[in-house]
Structure formats: structure tokens, C-alpha cells
């Protein structure tokens, strides 16, 4: 690929989805676009990009932008975080929402492992208020990821990355080497294609929003906007969950880290004290 190709991709990614595309990392971009070129019937990435320039076809532009996103995920990634959500945050939120519902959103759900991990964690949590309903929402920019996520079907490799064996045999069924999440859990999740840089006010509010490992892939100019947009979608005592190594220092003052809980952020000081 030429420097002009990389500049085109960086501009498209930034303009359409706020993505940060590093123009010196040809190999990363090539590894993401090569499967798309094959699927679309182009003999090379260069011919794909030539078609992109010539046609300016929206469908192809979005397919390229989606291909530039990072979709790396696993079940129960950041085990300590999920243990905290299951043992502390979910019971606490259920006590606060007596007779209501706890709304949970995986905002960049990729292929679904994250939202299903949250749904399984809620199933496994103890001490939940019996009258409280847990509602799960999942969104992603990528239609392909959402399709796979909604299918609830995973390879044997995928289910062995992060999913303890007891949870696997309790919540999945297998046919040969394909594992399907139980229909009961799959049906608790509502799905939607969402661009996180767009207006999210129609989403309603959530008690727990997960946005793990998304911010590093965003252009610095849109990070604060996306985080503040997420913060605005949180209930007063809600939690934002990032990756355990992620920080909001210098990004926003809207949320504060939970002491001793890497990657967890809240706006309510009382929740922070309860979690400590």
C-alpha cells in the first residue's frame, strides 16, 4: 500500500467512526483488509482501494471502516473485573433497583463474548433481589460481528479462552466443535448497530456500561466526546467499565476511578465508597 492509501484509510476511519489508524502500521491495516478484499472478490487490497476511490459506494466504505476496527475479545476477559461485577456491583445495583430493572450495555460488543459473560455473571451472582430484572443490551459498529454475536455460536478455541469449564457445560451445548450459548441467555440480549461517535441520547440510561479496550483505538480528538457521551448514558450511581489497564486521566473529569478496581469508573461517590 502507498502512503496515499494509508492517508485515505486514516481519513475515512477518523471521519466515519472516530478511529485512530496509524499510517506507519501497514502490516496491521493489511492484515485487517486482506480478508475483506477476498470476501468482496478483489484480487488484492490495492484493487479494493481503487474500487473504493472510483465508486465511493457507501456500503463498501463502511465495510472498509468496519474492517479497520479491533475485534479482539474473549469470555470473562479481565477475570477480577467480572468477579467484582458478579459479587459486588450486580448485587448492589439490584438492591438499589428493588422491583425495577438493572440495565447493562456492552457498547462495543464485538462478537458477543463480553455481553454473554455479563449475562452469565448475572446468572451466577448471589444475593440478587428477586424482584429485579436484568436487561442486557449489546452494540457494535460491525454488522458482521453483530451477526456472529447474535448467533451465539462459538468455536472450541473461542469458548476455551476465558470460560471456566463448569460455566461452559452449564450454559452452552455443543455439536461437534461448535458451542451454542443457551437460548435462554441469548434471548435476554437486545442488539443494535451503533456508531459510538453518533448521538446516543435515544439509548436511554444504563446502570453498567462496558467499553473495554475501545478508547485506545479511537482518534484522540474523539475520545473525550465518546467517554462523556457514555457518562451521560449512566445512571447517577452507574459504572463504566474499561479495560483493566485503561485510564481516563486527561480524558474527562465526568467519572472517577473506583479505588483498587482498575478499569472501573463511577460518578457517584457513595458507590465508590461501597465498592472500596
Amino acid at each position: 500500500m502507498t502512503p496515499e492509501d494509508m492517508d485515505l484509510l486514516a481519513a475515512l476511519g477518523r471521519a466515519r467512526a472516530g478511529l485512530k489508524v496509524e499510517t506507519d502500521k501497514h502490516y496491521v491495516v493489511e492484515s485487517r483488509l486482506a480478508p475483506l478484499a477476498r470476501r468482496e472478490g478483489y484480487p488484492s487490497i490495492e484493487t479494493l482501494l481503487a474500487a473504493l476511490r472510483a465508486k465511493r459506494e457507501e456500503r463498501l466504505i463502511w465495510a472498509v471502516v468496519e474492517a479497520l476496527t479491533v475485534n479482539e475479545t474473549a469470555f470473562f476477559r479481565d477475570r477480577d473485573t467480572f468477579a467484582f461485577l458478579r459479587d459486588v456491583a450486580m448485587p448492589e445495583l439490584s438492591r438499589r433497583r428493588k422491583d425495577g430493572s438493572v440495565r447493562i450495555w456492552s457498547a462495543a460488543c464485538s462478537t458477543g463474548q463480553e455481553i454473554y459473560s455479563l449475562a452469565i455473571a448475572a446468572e451466577e451472582a448471589r444475593g440478587l433481589e428477586p424482584g429485579v430484572r436484568f436487561e442486557f443490551f449489546a452494540s457494535d459498529l460491525s454488522e458482521r460481528c453483530l451477526e456472529k454475536a447474535q448467533s451465539g455460536l462459538y468455536t472450541q478455541f473461542e469458548v476455551q479462552r476465558g470460560l471456566p469449564i463448569r460455566l461452559l457445560i452449564k450454559h452452552f451445548e455443543n455439536q461437534d466443535e461448535t458451542w451454542a450459548i443457551s437460548p435462554r441467555i441469548r434471548q435476554t440480549v437486545r442488539w443494535r448497530r451503533i456508531n459510538l461517535t453518533s448521538d446516543l441520547t435515544g439509548m436511554g440510561v444504563f446502570d453498567l456500561v462496558m467499553l473495554r479496550n475501545v478508547l485506545p483505538g479511537l482518534d484522540p480528538s474523539v475520545r473525550a466526546k465518546v467517554v462523556e457521551s457514555m457518562a451521560a448514558r449512566l445512571t447517577e450511581d452507574g459504572l463504566l467499565v474499561l479495560g483493566e489497564t485503561e485510564s481516563l486521566a486527561g480524558v474527562t473529569e465526568a467519572l472517577r476511578p473506583l479505588p483498587g478496581r482498575p478499569g472501573l469508573f463511577a460518578r457517584d461517590p457513595a458507590f465508590r465508597a461501597a465498592a472500596a
Binding site: 474473549a74 477475570r79 472450541q156 478455541f157 476455551q160 479462552r161 476465558g162 471456566p164 469449564i165 463448569r166 461452559l168 457445560i169 451445548e173 455443543n174 461437534d176 466443535e177
Partner: protein
């Protein structure tokens, strides 16, 4: 350094597993069947056992039953590593005393994830 006994009748699998486990800090011993593994455990109980199911002389399930009856045999964390992926068999392995379960084929990432899940890392 923690020790792991790798029990598999395939020399290739033992070699792959050894490399993956050494990468996460284990000292490795190897056995080609359950009987040989039992002799290893009687001599020096390992911290962990990575255990195949189908092997000649003594299979993994029988080894596990006998291991758990040995003095100190309840201590090692046992992770099955087998082509057996039927839920009934997985349940049987857990009921017999396995702590975690890997379905072949596997890679180093899966071994590390499962050993972490079993509290070994």
C-alpha cells in the same frame, strides 16, 4: 518453581504442552500413561497434572480416581487435556476430581487461560 506432570501417550503433544507450560513458569515431568504417572506422583507429588484421557495401560480417568486416593493425592490441580468433548464426559471428569478441562486441539494461550482459571498462575 511449580511443577506440572504432563501425561499423554503422544510424544508430540507432550512436547507442545511442555513448551507452553515452561513459558508460564512450570517445571515439567512427563509420563506416557496413567500407570507411569502414578509412579511419578508417588515419588514426588506435582503441583499440577495435565492429563490426557485415552491412553494405553491406564487411562486418564482411572489415573485420576487412583491419584485422589493416594496420600496427598488431593493436592495436585488436575487439568484434563483430551479430544473428548461430550458434555457427559466432561461432567464425569469433573465429578471424578478434575479441576479444569481443555479440549484438543489447544494452544499456549488456552493452556495459560485454563491454568489461570484453576488458580495455578
Amino acid at each position: 518453581m511449580k511443577t506440572c506432570l504432563v501425561v499423554d501417550d503422544s510424544r508430540v503433544i507432550r512436547k507442545v504442552a511442555r513448551r507452553a507450560l515452561e513459558d508460564i513458569g512450570f517445571e515439567i515431568a512427563e509420563a506416557a500413561d496413567g500407570m507411569e504417572a502414578l509412579a511419578w506422583c508417588r515419588a514426588a507429588m506435582p503441583d499440577a497434572v495435565l492429563l490426557d484421557w485415552n491412553m494405553p495401560v491406564m487411562n486418564g480417568l482411572e489415573f485420576l480416581q487412583r491419584l485422589r486416593q493416594e496420600p496427598g493425592g488431593d493436592a495436585p490441580v488436575v487439568v484434563f487435556c483430551t479430544v473428548e468433548n461430550r458434555v457427559d464426559n466432561i461432567r464425569l471428569a469433573l465429578d471424578t476430581g478434575a479441576d479444569e478441562y481443555i479440549m484438543k486441539p489447544f494452544d499456549g494461550e488456552i493452556i495459560a487461560a485454563k491454568f489461570a482459571e484453576a488458580g495455578l498462575l
